[in-house]
C-alpha cells in the first residue's frame, strides 16, 4: 500500500492563489494562511497524488538546475513540511480501503 508521502497529494479544499510565482494558501479549516517560496510552490504544484517524490525531484532538478541528491533532499524536506502544516492529504483524509 502506498503511503501518502510517497505519492503526495495537495489538499483541494483550500483556497489557493499564485502571486508572482509564489503560492498563497488559505486553509479555512485551520484558519491559517501560508506563503510558499518559489521552490515550495513548484513542489506543491506537482503534488498530484500520482507523482512520486523521486519523480518530483527529477523535475525539480531539471527546472532549477540542481543536482539530483540536492533535489531529492529538498523535495523530501518540503513534502514533510507541507504535510506537517496540513496542506497535504493525510491518511485520515484518504478513502478507507476495502
Amino acid at each position: 500500500m502506498n503511503e501518502p508521502l510517497d505519492h503526495p497529494k495537495r489538499r483541494v479544499d483550500v483556497n489557493v492563489r499564485m502571486v508572482d510565482g509564489e503560492v498563497v494558501v488559505l486553509d479555512r479549516q485551520s484558519d491559517l494562511i501560508h506563503q510558499l517560496n518559489h521552490t515550495a510552490s513548484y513542489i506543491w504544484g506537482r503534488c498530484d497524488g500520482q507523482s512520486t517524490v523521486a519523480e518530483i525531484a527529477n523535475q525539480l532538478a531539471a527546472a532549477f538546475q540542481v543536482d539530483a541528491d540536492t533535489a531529492v533532499q529538498d523535495v523530501a524536506t518540503t513534502i514533510r513540511q507541507l504535510h506537517s502544516i496540513g496542506l497535504l492529504e493525510s491518511l485520515r483524509n484518504l478513502p478507507e480501503g476495502p
Binding site: E22, V24, I33, Q35, L36
Partner: protein
C-alpha cells in the same frame, strides 16, 4: 438610576453612532477618545447607553441586540466600547476591507503600519506625528478596495506605556489603569479629514535589542499573506478576503520594518517613503490609477 444627562453623537465611517451617557464624567471620557468623530445628530445606525453600576462603581455598556458589557474601570470601558463599535462598523460597512493597522499620511499619501498587538504601531505612530505625518488611526485601517483609499478612524491615540525618546506625552493625556490615551486635539500633527490613497505598507516588528532599525523587502505573496492575517472582516470579501489582500499587495509598495530606537525608526520610515514614492507603482496609486478588482 439617574436621568441620562447627555448624548454624544458620532459620525464614524458614514455611520451615525449615538451614545447616551449617564453622567458628565462618562461623556467626558468618551469625548476625550472620540471627540474628533463628533458629528451629525441624524438617525442613529448604532445606539449605545453607558451607565454606572451602582454597587461595583464600574460601567455597563448596552446596545440593542446584545447582552450588556460590564467594565470594571474606565480603561476597560474604552476597550469594550471600542471593540464592540468597530465590530459593528465592520458589519455596517462590509464594502470596506478593515485592516488591523495604524494609518498615517505623508503629504497626500496614506501609509499603513501593520503588526501584531505589541509590535509598536501606536508608539511608532506617536513618534511619526512629530515628523510631518498626519494622523488617521493607530488601530484601524478601513480600506476601499474599489478606489485604493484608506479612511481615517481618528480615535485618541492609545499607548500601553510612556513612549521612550524625545516624544513626551501632552498634559491632557488620559491615564487609565491599562492604557494612555492622547486626544486628537493634543496631537502634534493635523488629523486626516477624508480618505487618502494607500501608497505603502510597513509590516512592523519591534526589536528592542537591535542597534538600528532595518527595512527589508518582501515578496508580493508574503505581503498578501501578512495583510490577510491582519484583515478584520475578510469573509465579507471575495475569495474569503484573500483576493483583496492580493490585489492590495500587488499595487502597493510593502516592506518589513524591524524597529529599534524610535527616532532612528522615524528617520528610516521617512527615508523609505521618499524612496518608495518614486516607484512607478506608488505613483500610480497616488494618481488614483487603482484598477477595479
Amino acid at each position: 438610576m439617574s436621568l441620562m444627562l447627555d448624548t454624544l453623537s458620532l459620525l464614524v465611517l458614514g455611520c451615525h453612532v449615538r451614545v447616551q451617557c449617564q453622567d458628565a464624567e462618562i461623556r467626558a471620557l468618551l469625548v476625550a477618545n472620540y471627540g474628533h468623530m463628533q458629528g451629525s445628530r441624524g438617525q442613529a445606525t448604532l445606539q449605545y447607553t453607558v451607565a454606572r453600576q451602582a454597587r461595583s462603581g464600574g460601567f455597563l455598556v448596552s446596545r440593542a441586540g446584545r447582552e450588556p458589557l460590564s467594565a470594571a474601570d474606565p480603561g476597560m470601558l474604552l476597550f469594550l466600547f471600542e471593540k464592540d463599535m468597530t465590530v459593528e462598523l465592520e458589519k455596517l460597512r462590509p464594502d470596506l476591507y478593515f485592516v488591523h493597522a495604524a494609518v498615517l499620511a505623508l503629504e497626500h499619501a496614506a501609509v499603513m503600519l501593520v503588526g501584531e498587538s505589541g509590535s509598536g504601531k501606536s508608539t511608532t505612530t506617536w513618534a511619526l506625528l512629530h515628523h510631518g505625518c498626519r494622523y488617521f488611526s493607530d488601530e484601524l485601517g478601513p480600506l476601499d478596495l474599489q478606489t485604493g483609499e484608506v479612511y481615517p478612524y481618528p480615535h485618541a491615540l492609545c499607548l500601553k506605556d510612556v513612549p521612550p525618546g524625545p516624544y513626551p506625552l501632552p498634559k491632557n493625556t488620559l491615564y487609565t489603569a491599562r492604557t494612555l490615551h492622547i486626544p486628537t486635539a493634543a496631537l502634534p500633527s493635523t488629523v486626516g479629514e477624508g480618505p487618502a490613497p494607500l501608497a505603502a505598507i510597513f509590516f512592523l516588528q519591534y526589536r528592542p535589542e537591535a542597534a538600528a532599525p532595518v527595512v527589508e523587502p518582501l515578496s508580493k505573496a508574503e505581503a498578501a499573506a501578512r495583510l490577510f492575517a491582519n484583515a478584520l472582516n475578510p469573509l465579507a470579501h471575495a475569495g474569503d478576503g484573500l483576493d483583496g489582500a492580493i490585489m492590495v499587495s500587488a499595487r502597493v509598495a510593502s516592506v518589513k520594518l524591524f524597529s529599534a530606537d524610535l527616532m532612528a525608526t522615524c528617520a528610516l520610515v521617512r527615508a523609505t517613503l521618499k524612496r518608495l514614492f518614486w516607484h512607478e507603482e506608488t505613483k500610480r496609486c497616488l494618481q488614483g490609477q487603482w484598477p477595479h478588482p
